[in-house]
């Protein structure tokens, strides 16, 4: 059955996460994605891992394998004039070109919207860059960590009683890249929709910093409406909203609304201390959290995570386990929904992957193929472009592919 995006042809020049995640989402929805990698080692995500047994291997990086499902992969050196000629032939028939090349590196690689649009006026080109293409910081170098800071998200976390001297704390992994990627995919589909109606493509300029600022929640509003910078230090204003330790792991206890708290007190069998005025409402519980946390922690410690989670949920209190990977992969709920999928890769073997977070009634999501090995589809794709075996061999000799 065709996917929602069947028939769209996408060229991706992606390193690491943002552009690759955007085009993975589209590939998993049925789009035909051709990923261009440098012949000199390919996408840096190939070096990131994790690797089976911790042994680095170009074809076995977990991050790369996840980010590039359903794509075909070719090698092409865009720094060579010959490489750019081939690139232009590829772009000529494409619906979308998506990349995350730094602004300063775009011209030498031929990533020039005006020139490409002159050959293919229907082309949508999405440029995902750390700080956008213009403005005083446009040329700044960035990493996932520095972007998480530039977007104000890092400053929100870490600290708290006992750790206030420690730095703002980044979230695990490559969160700037993933968040930017899914937003850039939405913007790209918007431009493709406009083209279905109006016929012409356009250039979509995307700033990762701005995207992250836009999800920084309370922070920017407190600043704009109340003139204060929310601090990550000291206590949180509302409690209980914290991570506590059970017998066999950690649980997130969450009483956002008063009725959650009342149900929780009932679950704890109405201890006398719960009626103390210092625990009267969520703000007072925030101020008194040092004392309250000890009391709750003492009660929580005798439960298993699962037991407490289910007991709380039975009373509609939104507790959640602090999931480990083992817990997730064995979750009855996630498995009943078919979230995790088994996929075979010629080098990495059969592995379990996160699937899709959505179930679409008419255009089922599917994994049609694993991530490409470096240059795996060179012959196939270049033949489709009309090249002969001799042409391809010449390009190979020149180191272009």
């Amino acid at each position: 059955m065709p996917g929602a995006l069947s028939g769209f042809r996408i060229i991706e020049c992606g390193e690491m996460v943002s552009a690759a995640y955007a085009s993975k989402l589209m590939a998993d929805m049925g789009a035909e994605v051709i990923k261009i990698e440098s012949p000199h080692g390919g996408d840096a995500a190939r070096q990131r891992g994790p690797f089976p047994g911790g042994e680095p291997h170009t074809e076995k990086s977990g991050l790369y394998l996840f980010l590039n499902t359903n794509k075909r992969g070719i090698t092409l050196d865009l720094e060579q004039p010959q490489g750019q000629e081939v690139f232009q032939r590829l772009v000529k028939d494409a619906d979308l070109l998506i990349h995350n090349v730094q602004p300063g590196h775009m011209p030498p690689l031929g990533l020039d919207y005006d020139r490409l649009a002159a050959m293919n006026p229907r082309l949508v080109m999405t440029s995902i860059t750390p700080f956008g293409l213009r403005g005083p910081h446009a040329e700044y170098e960035a990493s996932d960590l520095t972007l998480w800071n530039a977007g104000g998200l890092c400053f929100l976390n870490g600290g708290g009683p006992g750790t206030d001297h420690l730095p703002p704390l980044k979230a695990f992994g490559q969160q700037s890249g993933f968040t930017a990627g899914v937003h850039a995919a939405v913007a790209s589909l918007g431009a493709l929709f406009a083209r279905l109606r109006g016929g012409l493509g356009q250039h979509v300029e995307f700033s990762v910093q701005e995207c992250l600022m836009g999800i920084s929640e309370f922070g920017t509003m407190m600043a704009a409406y109340a003139g204060v910078a929310v601090t990550r230090l000291g206590h949180k204003p509302i409690q209980p909203l914290d991570l506590l330790e059970c017998k066999d792991g950690w649980i997130f206890i969450c009483c956002v609304e008063e009725h959650h708290w009342h149900s929780f007190v009932d679950l704890m069998d109405n201890p006398e201390w719960a009626a103390e005025p210092i625990f009267e409402d969520r703000l007072k519980r925030g101020e008194s959290w040092d004392a309250l946390k000890l009391l709750i922690q003492d009660w929580v410690k005798d439960f298993t995570v699962q037991d407490l989670y289910l007991k709380a949920q039975a009373r509609r209190i939104p507790f959640a386990p602090v999931s480990t990977m083992g817990y997730l992969l064995n979750s009855e709920h996630l498995n009943a929904r078919g979230f995790f999928v088994q996929l075979d890769h010629p080098e990495a073997g059969s592995l379990t992957y996160p699937g899709a977070p959505h179930i679409c009634s008419e255009t089922p999501w599917e994994l049609r193929r694993p991530a490409p090995c470096l240059g795996q589809h060179n012959t196939e794709v270049y033949t489709e472009l009309g090249m002969t075996a001799q042409d391809l061999a010449a390009l190979q000799r020149a180191g272009t592919v």
Binding site: S143, H183, S323, P357
Partner: protein, 404 residues
Amino acid sequence: MSRPPLDGIRVVDFCWAWAGPYGSLQLAHLGADVIRIESAKRLCPSRLIPPWPDNESGVNRAGYFNQYNQGKRSLTLDLKAPEAIDIAKTLVSKSDIVMNNFASGVMEKLGVGYDVLRRIKSDIIMVSLPGYGTSGPEKDFVSYGPPQVAQSGLSALTGYVGGPPMMAGFSYGDPNGGIHATFAVMSALLHREKTGQGQYIDLSQWEAAIMLLPEAVMDYSMNGTQPERMGNRDPHMAPHGVFRSKGDDRWVSLSVRDEAEWQRLGAVMGQPELSSDARFASLAARKENEAALEEIVTAWTQERTADEATQALQKVGIPAYPSLDALDMINNPHVGARDYFVELEHPEVGTRRHMGIPWTMSRTPCEIRRPAPCLGQDTEAVLTDIVGLSQSEIAALRAKDILT
């Protein structure tokens, strides 16, 4: 000027709180007519929480609501009344997309489930995005954005070296669930444009959050191991962290990605001898001696402001940026120069700075055309222009307290 991409697309937005409204905000950014269904009898939680200007509360004064509902319209309807459900159905019959993030089953109980709505509008696209999705043994469990950070696995992976699990963001699960839902909606909209077929999308916010940590899932899948918490460090780069700078709780982030950058860092810090220091001669050596390395970097950063350190490092091409707090953000000269901020006159809060659209389009510009709506601000207009009710019909509904 050209029309925005989703000009003429109408969204009936039953979403509330944070995840759903963030998703429909993106559709408004793209130019859709997003109509939020609200009720004073069951107010959106984001209208009820601070910050408010001058700390004076009011349903139209909440920064939270006003940020994440820019560009939308507000229709107040008491969905407990059968007449209100009829109006909602008529509105759906003239719309393209229906969004909701109620708990599983609520739309069906209200009588506006997909099976009903598809009979009213055969090509409707409907998305539901409850925390757990709409199927599976835990589908009736309750969820909020903050617990999803824990439940997704992100908390167990996030934290200082040797420390307990920690949070990421305030409520990171919410915007993430919302934007993944919008991606699915946009895909369905393109499919509909080509085939005429609508569909139903069941999105799980929990699963959307697991999409953000594939390295850990794959590690477990490959090796059966759970990655250890490593603070701000990175297995492939060192130094890589957030370092104290001059001022009270001020910090600068930086990443040294390769040997050439390591050499340049030594030079910038005025310690070229570091490049021949055996303790730091390779990535492996720097990882081995990372605590000592971080002390050396801190000794340099804490003598400068975060801006000074950033400028010095960027001058030699090393990724660095101040760890911005919220006041830094709303005063950031770079995004200010890019016209990212939106400052539209709002009848109750005046002109405030809001976060804008993170993309620009060269041919079909996207812009925020109006501030977030006051409660029920567009009830009259929507009922007259779209639903097609007369003034006397509207007055009768008002008399029965259905339009609040």
